[in-house]
Amino acid sequence: MEPQAQTTESPMRRTVEAAVMIALGTAFVVASILCQKDSLFGKNANDRIEAVGIIIAAALTLIMYSFLYRDNPLFKIAENVYIGAQLGYGAINTWRLALRPQIYNPLALAPSNQALWDALVFRSVPILLGVLLLTRLSRKHGWLSRYSYSMMVGWGAGMTILVMTDTNILQQLQAAAKPIQAGVTADAGWWANAGAVTGALTVLVGTVCVLFYFFFSIPHGPVGQRVSKTGIWFLMLSFGASFGYTAMARISLVIGRMRFLLFEWLKIPQ
């Protein structure tokens, strides 16, 4: 999101904003206590913990939305908490679900000498390559990480070129080069078949026109310019569809947070 322009403000306005802030904070605390009182002051410890979690989540949500009014210190704190919590959580998960079962347990807690030997044989090279990546942190020994990177790049390119060519080029070309009447079936109605043919024709015209728009090797004459303009129209329609879906996605996310605030924090009956 684009940061909002900072404007010079009068001390009066700052005082009013501070007063509104205190009032909103007080309202938040009162609303939280009133709405979560059954869980907060109940006998079940799990309910109490969950209520505290909901209140913290509600506070962070509202602080995040405060950015829409203006950038502020609370937003900055919440932003940093979010990033820190995500990284911390990720680090713990990586240890618990990857490093511990894949490296620590097989090597440090091997049940037998044979198991330890197997672990050393099969895991020492990958572990070494992983450790070499960390040498990037040192200026002197950073070059060692190139061995790991070269493996990664070489392997990645080798695997990806073949797979990408098939998935994203050959299969797409095959689908685009289908005969126009390929969608027509005997049991479908006239309208359905007409729709299939129209769709195939639209894809054909769209593909040719858009490709032509990006063909800069020859000057576009009067006919070429029309084809090129048609290509622009198809591109615009595509961008419009993407924008529409993006707007839908963003609204869905706001709906998710609002559902949380209304039904979990404020406990409005559904």
Binding site: Q4, A5, T7, L68, Y69, Q86, Y89, G90, N93, T94, L97, A98, P101, M159, V163, M164, D166, T167, N168, Q171, Q172, Q174, A175, S238, A241, S242, Y245, T246, A247, M248, A249, I251, S252, L253, V254, I255, G256, R257, M258, R259, L262, I268, Q270
Partner: protein, 277 residues
């Protein structure tokens, strides 16, 4: 830009934010009825694909999302899990997103409690492994070797939910519920390579990128955004979070359309007056 214009722009933005907030809160508070809608063809295809599997089939569900997109993707994940359990299918859940495991565990445990199913027997959550495409490739060779234990530290060898399943080739369907482009990864290294059908549930932002794969048949069906999740709930004859969000989304979309039309009319009007270039 002159200071007055900047102030006006900021004020206008704040008004739009307030209007959007009102468009979302008011329908919930006044409990607007859910609009009637028909499930889209792409969602039907996902439903039909799951419906057509015989009982006991293994369905791999890659849950590639975290709390960022919970609002859109959780209803889809819950809908597909409910459908699998209703059809006596065995979901094998997995993720390559390191933030996801707790959220997925929560979803699994909620649906398991609701349906009376047991981890390890009726379903399994394999957990997270780093490596993205490598995980898919090694799963194509052996699931048990890739995941020696599941997310709850139970050994996967001899696990009833994985009986008869050695690799990704042995599952009947791959379902990817994803917030990013990990669907491509599952198509490239999973379904295309191993010839296993794949359906996807994605955020609305990602949906346009996926339609070309639907045309080629590389993806058999798509659930796109909250609307896709609502479609799936409709097909399951349920009205959960996604369906309940439809009336709110309709109002919010109406507001956005009105704002776009209004802003364009204002622009044209000002241009006619010579105030805009």
């Amino acid at each position: 830009m002159p200071a007055n214009d900047t102030q006006g722009l900021i004020r206008t933005r704040r008004i739009i934010y307030l209007l959007v907030a009102a468009a979302i809160i008011v329908p919930y508070v006044i409990q607007m009825p859910i609009p009637s809608f028909h499930a889209q063809e792409e969602a039907h295809k996902v439903y039909d694909r799951v419906e057509s599997l015989p009982a006991g089939s293994r369905v791999l569900i890659a849950m590639e999302f975290d709390p960022n997109c919970e609002a859109e993707l959780r209803p889809m994940a819950e809908g597909i899990l409910r459908h699998c359990f209703a059809r006596k299918l065995v979901p094998i859940l997995v993720t390559t997103n390191y933030i996801a495991p707790a959220l997925i565990s929560d979803i699994c445990q909620k649906i398991a409690k609701e349906t009376g199913t047991v981890s390890g027997k009726d379903w399994v959550f394999l957990g997270y492994r780093p490596g993205m495409a490598n995980v898919v490739i090694t799963m194509g060779e052996s699931i048990q070797r890739t995941f020696e234990t599941d997310n709850f530290s139970q050994t996967t060898r001899d696990m009833p939910a994985l009986a008869g399943v050695n690799s990704l080739k042995d599952v009947s369907l791959i379902t990817v519920i994803s917030l990013g482009d990990t669907v491509n990864m599952w198509i490239q290294y999973g379904s295309d390579r191993l010839k296993v059908p794949l359906v996807a549930g994605v955020t609305a932002v990602m949906a346009p990128d996926l339609y070309p794969y639907l045309n080629t048949g590389q993806v058999k069906g798509i659930l796109a955004g909250l609307r896709g999740a609502a479609d799936y709930e409709l097909l399951l004859h349920r009205s959960d979070d996604a369906a309940k969000g439809m009336q709110v989304q309709s109002v919010a979309h109406g507001l956005l359309i009105a704002l776009i039309i209004g802003a364009n009319v204002r622009f044209l009007f000002r241009r006619a007056q010579g105030k805009e270039a």
